[in-house]
């Protein structure tokens, strides 16, 4: 623990800290462009110069200088001030003065730091450098003349994303950042370079010229595009969500966000259900809420009512539906739309027990039936970190392009019963062996053998059994009992008179021919087309809600905008439906609903990891049940109704996933 003096203030800093980190610990702000906490140190912007004694009599780049015992650091001397002014003047030599038309304006590091640390004007009279625009795909807009060559984007794609595709070509003044042959950036985290870019060189293409940061209302929310539950901030203006940005949460998403979570928000304004529809003589027709409720009451469901939760619903909606069904005397709740029927009686066996931060420390990882890149892009970042620390990764399932060295063991679940000796040895010797069962694995019956394996490799103080779900609502649904023993098949067998589909769009509705299908949701997708009555609900951006991610982490999302047209928050619809059906559900407001939910499932009341209890004992003889694994996510960009409605996601799917040539629209 070296002791250093920063501006006369003596502090102790951790071993291995840099001078920049020492200054931050002392509460000093060090301007920087290339330095980023989650990337390697480049030291090429020179903005973080400070005066350090002992050392050469010149300012030093603090980001790349280790803090050592007895250092005297000054961040407020004349030398430092002059150095910063000089660096800033150099950076601005070739930086265009187009802030008024730049999308980064208002949230630009260069702008802020030029005001704080720059000179009043430039002494440079020569022509500025100009760089041609580079094409980086449908999500990233480039204005490369603004680039200051911090290489954050290069380091991000190499280190975090694990897809080497951005590079710095040429040298000196001619240095240019580009992708190889200007191909589109092709990975699930590509848009994070937009956040990383300290200037306006890489900006968001769908959000180009849409809004200024200061006119946006910021709402804290949770991403529902996958089961990671990334913490996001929804920036809205008026009634429209303009963009989604990641929030920093080291336990969940660090500060990244998958492209889908970031860019599906334009789907919030398309294909929206904003009216009540009732199917009359085989055709959906506009109706009023009263007509719809009457029609449902006329079906006289009694006990014969079921609720199917979709992938995006919040816990409150699911709990309201559960209350309603309970009041009717039914318990037919199901959330696993595609018909999976893994045992859900033990929640600990359903969660990502190692936690995302914990999986980084695993040293042997067995992935069973999960295309992690597509099913949980942010977990893949963690796995890559683990692999970089030396973890060995093995995959059971069809081949996919990993971003780290991984060995594929076969496509059949039966491999788990007789692992190759050398693989088994790796796990036996590992200090922190982990098993990750994905949705594909669960569907192929890998749950029991994987649990048995994990228990064979159990270690003190380490829980290595992980289930990686694909739906944001899944974990909350399981906590609320949205699981029947036989899965969807059992619900279908019960032939309920009324089925409440809570945004359920992946269900095979042909099994419910005789039921009155009431779709409560927000997008006109598969579920709405199959429904008999459509009640327009709210998206995740339009209601307060609790979500539980695949780790079992309870998180609250806030309402950013109002639902369009006649659409209502889902719980109010269910409350009104209770009146129409003449039953009592016991809540009249959202607060009452929430406290009722917390009273029944206390874990949902506390933000953070829920205590799900101990793992169950794996059943004997669960080994060797065979089944070929196939991955549930066919197209990363189109996995949920919001993304399917989004024009940006459709374009990404066409261009990046299916590789179609899209002609650039004349701009």
């Amino acid at each position: 623990m070296p002791k250093v003096t920063v501006d006369g203030q003596e502090i102790e800093v951790p071993d291995g800290a840099t001078v920049l980190q020492a200054c931050e610990l002392a509460g000093k702000e060090i301007p920087r462009f290339c330095y980023h906490e989650r990337l390697s140190i480049a030291g090429n912007c020179r903005m973080c110069l400070v005066e350090v004694k002992p050392g050469p009599p010149k300012p030093q780049a603090s980001c790349a200088l280790p803090a050592t015992e007895g250092q005297e650091i000054r961040t407020d001397s004349q030398m430092v001030k002059t150095a910063r002014e000089g660096v800033m003047e150099f950076l601005l030599i070739n930086h265009p003065l187009d802030c008024p038309i730049c999308d980064q304006g208002g949230e630009c590091d260069l702008q802020d730091q030029a005001v704080a640390y720059g000179r009043g004007g430039s002494r440079y009279h020569e022509n500025k450098r100009a760089v041609t625009e580079k094409y980086m795909g449908p999500l990233i807009k480039t204005i490369m003349t603004r680039c200051i060559h911090c290489t954050r984007c290069v380091r991000f794609s190499e280190e975090v994303a694990g897809v080497d595709e951005i590079g710095a070509l040429y040298r000196g003044e001619d240095m240019q950042i580009t992708t190889y042959l200007e191909q589109a950036a092709q990975h699930e985290l590509s848009a994070n370079v937009i956040d990383l870019c300290p200037v306006g060189a890489l900006t968001s293409r769908p959000y180009a010229f849409e809004a200024r940061p200061w006119e946006l209302k910021k709402t804290l929310s949770i991403d529902v595009s996958d089961a990671v539950g990334a913490n996001i901030r929804l920036d809205s203006r008026g009634r429209e969500v303009m963009r989604a940005l990641p929030r920093i949460n080291d336990d969940v998403n660090e500060e990244w966000l998958s492209d889908k979570g970031r860019y599906m928000v334009d789907g919030l304004t398309r294909r929206r259900l904003d009216k009540v529809w009732i199917r009359k003589r085989g055709k959906l027709q506009q109706a009023t809420w009263e007509e719809a409720f009457k029609a449902i009451a006329r079906a006289k469901p009694g006990k014969s009512i079921a609720a199917i939760a979709g992938d995006l619903v919040d816990c409150e909606t699911m709990f309201a539906a559960r209350k309603l069904l309970g009041a009717m005397g039914s318990g037919l709740l199901e959330g696993r739309q595609t018909g999976m029927d893994y045992p859900a009686d033990n929640l600990a066996a359903m969660a990502f027990n190692s936690t995302f931060a914990g999986i980084e420390t695993a040293d042997a990882i067995l992935i069973v039936g999960s295309q992690v890149r597509h099913e949980a892009a942010l977990v893949n970042v963690r796995l890559r970190k683990a692999a970089r620390r030396g973890a060995k990764v093995f995959v059971v399932g069809p081949q996919w392009e990993t971003t780290y060295p991984a060995e594929f063991l076969g496509e059949d679940v039966s491999v788990l019963g007789n692992l190759p000796a050398e693989v088994a040895e790796v796990f036996d010797k590992a200090e922190r062996p982990a098993v990750i069962v994905g949705a594909g694995g669960l569907a192929a019956g890998a749950f029991e053998p994987a649990l048995a394996l994990a228990q064979g490799w159990s270690r003190e103080g380490w829980n290595g059994f992980n289930v990686l779900h694909t739906a944001a609502a899944r974990m909350g649904g399981l906590m609320l009992g949205y699981a029947q023993k036989g899965g969807m098949a059992e619900v279908a067998k019960a032939e309920p008179k009324v089925v409440l589909a809570l945004g359920a769009d992946e269900v095979d509705w042909s099994a419910f021919d005789k039921s009155l299908k009431v779709y409560i949701g927000h997008h006109g997708d598969k579920g709405a087309h199959a429904a008999d009555i459509i009640l327009p609900g709210a998206t995740y951006a339009e209601k307060d809600g609790t979500y539980v991610n695949t780790e079992g982490r309870v998180q609250f999302a806030e309402k950013a905008v109002f639902a369009p047209g006649d659409a209502r928050e889902d719980w109010t619809i269910l409350r009104a439906l209770a009146d129409a059906l003449g039953v009592e559900v016991g809540f009249d407001s959202f607060a009452e609903l929430q406290s009722a939910m917390i009273a029944e499932v206390p874990a949902l009341g506390v933000e953070g990891l829920a205590d799900l209890g101990p793992l169950p004992k794996a059943a004997k003889g669960g080994k060797g049940k065979g089944g070929t694994i196939s991955y549930p996510v066919a197209d990363f960009y189109l996995t949920n109704p919001i993304a399917r409605a989004s024009a940006v996601m459709q374009r990404c799917s066409a261009e990046l996933a299916r590789g179609e040539e899209i002609l650039e629209a004349a701009e």
Binding site: D164, I166, G167, L169, Y170, R171, G172, D174, T179
Partner: protein, 222 residues
């Protein structure tokens, strides 16, 4: 420098170079270069490999060689590294030609010492023979490039042609060299000044003169 961009990626380029592979000879050299680095650090050999690839392209086309994109991709595959990383290296160093060059790549130094000693005359000489900067001459023999300091300031002005330096040049001496090359002969490399061997001072040493004969101890004279 601004014209240093890779030759465009056309179907013709792909057809001509898409099947590029090291010959057995070059493969041996490449593997030797790779073997210099420890296991897992094979990427370090990217610079020798690019040079070898450029030389092989040169042999195949009877020129100084250059690096078409498919060849760069081949090197990337050979080292199992991302193409963009190889392209970064290839575009950074001037010794890698990104566009076709002639049989003789005439690199005239135009930096201050050479300029003061008459490099402008050398450019004139080259231009008179039909060379143009950054382009292959019509007979396919010459490519003229202006380069920065090559470290031969003591014998300025100088020209690097292919792998050899020619120093202490005048327009006439350069003409003689280029004539010889055009005939297919190999002129004397190094300094062209009669009586000079390398870069020693002309007309004998000007300092430490006693040291020429024997090891003289100057310390008493300070």
């Amino acid at each position: 420098m601004a014209d240093r961009t890779p030759a465009p990626d056309t179907p013709e380029l792909r057809e001509r170079w898409g099947s590029f592979e090291f010959t057995a000879d070059y493969k041996a050299k490449a593997d030797k270069a790779i073997a210099r680095y420890p296991e897992g650090r094979q990427r370090s050999a990217v610079m020798p490999l690019l040079d070898l690839a450029q030389r092989q392209v040169g042999e195949e086309t009877d020129t100084q060689g250059w690096l078409p994109l498919p060849v760069i991709e081949y090197v990337a595959r050979y080292l199992d590294m991302p193409v963009i990383r190889v392209l970064e290296v290839a575009t950074f160093y001037f010794m890698y030609n990104l566009k076709p060059v002639g049989k003789y790549h005439v690199q005239v130094c135009g930096t201050t010492p050479c300029m003061l000693r008459g490099s402008d005359g050398l450019f004139e000489t080259c231009k008179k023979r039909g060379m143009k900067k950054g382009a292959v001459s019509e007979d396919g023999l010459w490519t003229l490039t202006e380069v920065e300091c090559m470290g031969n300031c003591a014998t300025a002005p100088m020209v690097q042609i292919n792998d050899d330096n020619y120093e202490d040049l005048t327009p006439e001496r350069l003409d003689t060299i280029l004539d010889a090359l055009a005939r297919g002969e190999q002129p004397k490399t190094g300094t062209q000044e009669p009586g000079r061997h390398t870069s020693e001072p002309l007309g004998g040493p000007t300092t430490l003169k006693e040291m020429v004969e024997a090891n003289h101890d100057y310390r008493g004279e300070w």
